[in-house]
Symmetry: C2
Subunit: 239 residues, 2 copies
């Protein structure tokens, strides 16, 4: 496929996603499509064609900016639905207990901002989160993870993320990962309009101690670290 055709396909999919309210995926596709267009526009010998491409690039950039504003708007606005204070050593807080009921068949896209994704237990938490999403959200189609680069072993991190991406794709879920080294705040955005903010993000469990004890695999029985949970609903849902 030529670069022009690839760009065209990405941007057609971007518009489709945009129109059906899948704004997170549309955002990614616009970015990728625009980058693809840019990569060959300067080497286009025909000046007329070059101008045409630049006009279209400008159009798509405007659409991408509008979507970005919508995503950011959703992340900023809203009302608090519920607040949970988890105390040190509390139990009863598997993900399903905290936010399972907000993950529904209307949750088509999920954005997870989780700075720390480098240790085995952190990958396990990510998988537990995705297992819950796959279980609860029949129409889950797009997952974006924003996290920090593993400065000790970024290759291993890329390998692990690649495996998760391939696994999700087998379930027809697109996985887009963005490394952002300045990330601090934790946030889960569900496309049905809910935002879950947990002070410690996904990683608020103590290790199983002793290892072989109730709570090793069922996190409802795991002791927690102190953290606060706020769940927000944005003014609009789905679109």
């Amino acid at each position: 496929m030529t670069a022009a055709l690839q760009a065209k396909e990405l941007l057609i999919r971007a518009v489709e996603c945009d129109q059906s309210g899948r704004i997170l995926e549309a955002q990614t596709l616009y970015q990728d499509g625009i980058a693809q267009l840019m990569s060959f526009v300067s080497s286009e010998p025909d000046e007329q064609k070059r101008k045409g491409f630049l006009t279209r690039i400008k159009e798509y950039m405007d659409r991408a900016d509008a979507i970005k504003a919508r995503v950011n708007g959703k992340l900023m606005l809203g009302e608090v639905v519920t607040h949970i204070s988890i105390e040190e050593n509390d139990t009863g807080y598997d993900y399903v207990q905290i936010f399972g009921k907000y993950m529904t068949n209307q949750t088509v896209e999920i954005l997870l901002e989780e700075p720390y994704m480098t240790q085995n237990y952190q990958y396990q938490n990510l998988i537990r989160f995705l297992e819950l999403a796959v279980t609860n959200c029949a129409h889950f189609k797009y997952f974006r993870l924003v996290t920090k680069k593993d400065t000790n072993n970024h290759e291993q991190q890329k390998t692990n993320m690649g495996q998760i991406k391939a696994d999700l794709e087998r379930r027809h879920i697109a996985f887009y990962i963005k490394y952002e080294d300045s990330l601090h705040d934790r946030k889960i955005f569900l496309s049905n309009g809910y935002i879950i903010k947990i002070g410690r993000g996904l990683h608020f469990y103590k290790a199983s101690n002793p290892m072989y004890s109730i709570g090793l695999t069922n996190y409802k029985y795991r002791k927690c670290l102190q953290t606060d949970v706020d769940i927000w609903r944005t003014s609009s849902t789905a679109n």
Copy 2:
């Protein structure tokens, strides 16, 4: 506490368990109480007292034998309630899906015959089994595990089992372990009258591959090895 008092206490608890239908625990307590009585009866100087002890030992042995016959009878008789053939690479078979509905508030005692309990994943399966029992059976009081000795590292096995025992005791569940090197068949006996026979016992899952993929922690999504499941109901329930 003197040996005589200890024996008396064990045997009083045995009779209580026996009368309330907790036959697995009664069986263990009779055995322990009888062993305790035997340990000091021969050194009793008073011949009259010695005779008295021996008479009581004989009585308790008869009761223990009667219970053993009842337990064995329950394990032998019954009707098949359901049969499941799990094929290689099938998914959808976490323990809860297979036998969760038979673990109820009427399940006070559980006997698990599972020959292999030496590897990390096997201990994890045991914990997952116990977590389900603790979740579903509000009146779970007694757990007996029959397994083979770990010939490579029996000390580690005893340490692990000791941790599980202490953990269950914090939940007021007695844990009794019996090492039986000739054990082959797998069996789960629930005191509400159900027997679950799985060809491969608790260990019929493939490893998560690649490790970080859906199914790492939620076994509903794990690929299985081929095995057959038969679930039996004994003619009587509870008693």
